[in-house]
């Protein structure tokens, strides 16, 4: 059909691009079951990679780091985003200025410059410890102590709450004032209005942010790499899954194993996303 031909011409770059996505997707699944070092052709190894993963303590550590990071930093940053959005939404003079100040960090948070800066803010003699020192507290070596290194990166994530905040602000604006009027007429207090009007009507947007943030944070790389100079240290406390994948695939050229790591992480992300969608039935409210 002529009409189809014109449409496919428009889609041509995208159609080539989709091959460029689907192709590697399939190939990586194949590589996950091989032994491959880039120099010699891939060698089918069956479930050897899976068996190796079961006993790989570095992998287990990297999953632990990634889980803790995601499960702590995502709720914290979304909570902060929602709280600040609620305050700003009630109409503040200078709203645009506040919004800009809170939003800017989310554009910079994953840059090498900021992660390097973080390293020095939280360094043993960094600003944070200087401040604690004035209060008479001897702060730990935030970035050199395995107990604290990940928490500084969680704080960095929270620092970027501005992006979801802007989305929440847009969502809050769309809630019709008449719902609040009706609630006020029934004598609902501010907290009650938040629970019974704001939260249900905002829940699709909260849900969307939750899914997106979790998928993104499971794939964190730069923060761990720059904070530790590529090692995932101290004592593997910032060894994110993707950093471990990088070390295996591109440090040791163990690309078969790295591919199985990639698929493991994909399955984990898909699993968490599926749980999110299932749980959504109970708390996400759609008007129609």
């Amino acid at each position: 059909m002529r009409k189809d031909r014109a449409a496919y011409l428009f889609l041509l770059p995208w159609l080539v691009g989709i091959l460029f996505t689907v192709g590697p997707f399939v190939v990586s699944l194949y590589l996950a079951f091989t032994d491959y070092n880039l120099l010699t052709p891939p060698h089918w190894s069956g479930l050897a990679n899976v068996r190796e993963m079961i006993g790989d303590v570095h992998l287990h550590q990297s999953l632990k780091v990634t889980f803790i990071y995601t499960l702590v930093s995502v709720p914290l940053s979304l909570g902060a985003a929602l709280a600040v959005a609620m305050v700003l939404h009630r109409g503040v003079r200078g709203l645009a200025v506040y919004r800009s100040i809170y939003y800017l960090p989310s554009l910079l948070g994953s840059s090498v410059a900021i992660v390097m800066l973080w390293r020095y803010l939280f360094g043993y003699q960094g600003v944070v410890n200087q401040f604690l020192g004035r209060l008479g507290i001897q702060g730990p070596g935030w970035t050199s102590d395995p107990h604290f290194a990940l928490s500084t990166l969680i704080l960095l994530h929270v620092w970027t709450f501005g992006a979801p905040m802007v989305i929440f602000l847009a969502g809050l604006k769309q809630i019709p004032a008449m719902y609040y009027e009706a609630a006020a007429m029934d004598g609902a207090s501010g907290w009650r209005q938040f629970r019974s009007v704001t939260l249900p009507l905002l829940s699709p947007i909260i849900f969307f942010n939750l899914v997106q943030s979790m998928i993104a944070s499971f794939q964190t790389f730069t923060q761990g790499y720059v904070m530790s100079g590529g090692t995932g240290g101290p004592a593997e406390s910032t060894l994110f899954s993707n950093l471990y994948l990088y070390q295996k695939g591109f440090g040791e050229l163990d690309m078969g194993y790295a591919s199985s790591l990639a698929w493991l992480l994909l399955i984990i992300i898909a699993g968490f996303t599926a749980v999110n969608f299932l749980a959504a039935r109970y708390w996400v409210f759609y008007e129609n």
């Binding site: 100040i101 800017l104 410059a113």
Partner: protein, 290 residues
Amino acid sequence: MTLTLSRLVAARREKLPRRVRWLRHLGLTAVGALMMYPLIWLVSSSLKSSNTVFTDEGLWPHAWAPGNYPRGWTSLPESFDVYLINSLIIVTLSIAGNLMSCSLAAYAFARLRFTGRRLFFALMLGTMMLPGHVLTIPRYVLFDKLGWLNTYYPLLVPHFLATNGFYIFLMVQFMRSLPTELDDAARIDGCGPFRTFWKVIMPLCLPAFATTAIFTFIAVWNEFFEPLLYLTDPQLYTVPLALRQFMDSEGQSQWGEMFAMSFVSLAPVIGFFIAGQKYLVKGIATTGLR
């Protein structure tokens, strides 16, 4: 009744007691200051000499050391303008690629009827959710086989193939908001789909293009993982790769120089943010994405 009530609600929202309003401003300003503190500290430290960065505790430097900037500029294997130009080339071409390939695809999805449209659109949305790390290794192998390591092709070609569904989605949303009467009028005047796209839709989509350009700028400018994989020749380094070299040479403790160049690397993003705020905020608000 409704009128008085809505006035009541409005009054509740706008006319809080003066004390509460002041407290709110105080809280918001305190949080804002905390958010800005790391950036202000960075600028302040970039103007202190390396051996006083951690001893001179005030934000206002005791002794100014603007020399960090020229010294930092030349203290890496290549002069810093080489890295800036490399990044600028990659960013400019990435923006051009994204605008062309994504607007073409978006027009087809938003306005044309064709076989497989629903399937392709679902596939496009699926790729948006797909974690990119699954594609890393096969793509690396492919680019290696093509002899593209240490070239900019691996960083640029994907942008010309509309591989980032986010921008397509953003443009589709925007195009759908334009009245279809425009297309009908163009058709009656004898325009085919290409002329309609070029003469009617494109000019109206400039706000969506601005959003795409700014998002692409910030994402590509900050991108660290892909250049790390594909570029090993220091002459080809982008700004983030260049900055990392300061950490490798940490023994020499060039902190002042490092902070100076860090600020140079952030300045374009901050500049674009200030110039393009309107489009950024609209962009993430309309798609609900980042």
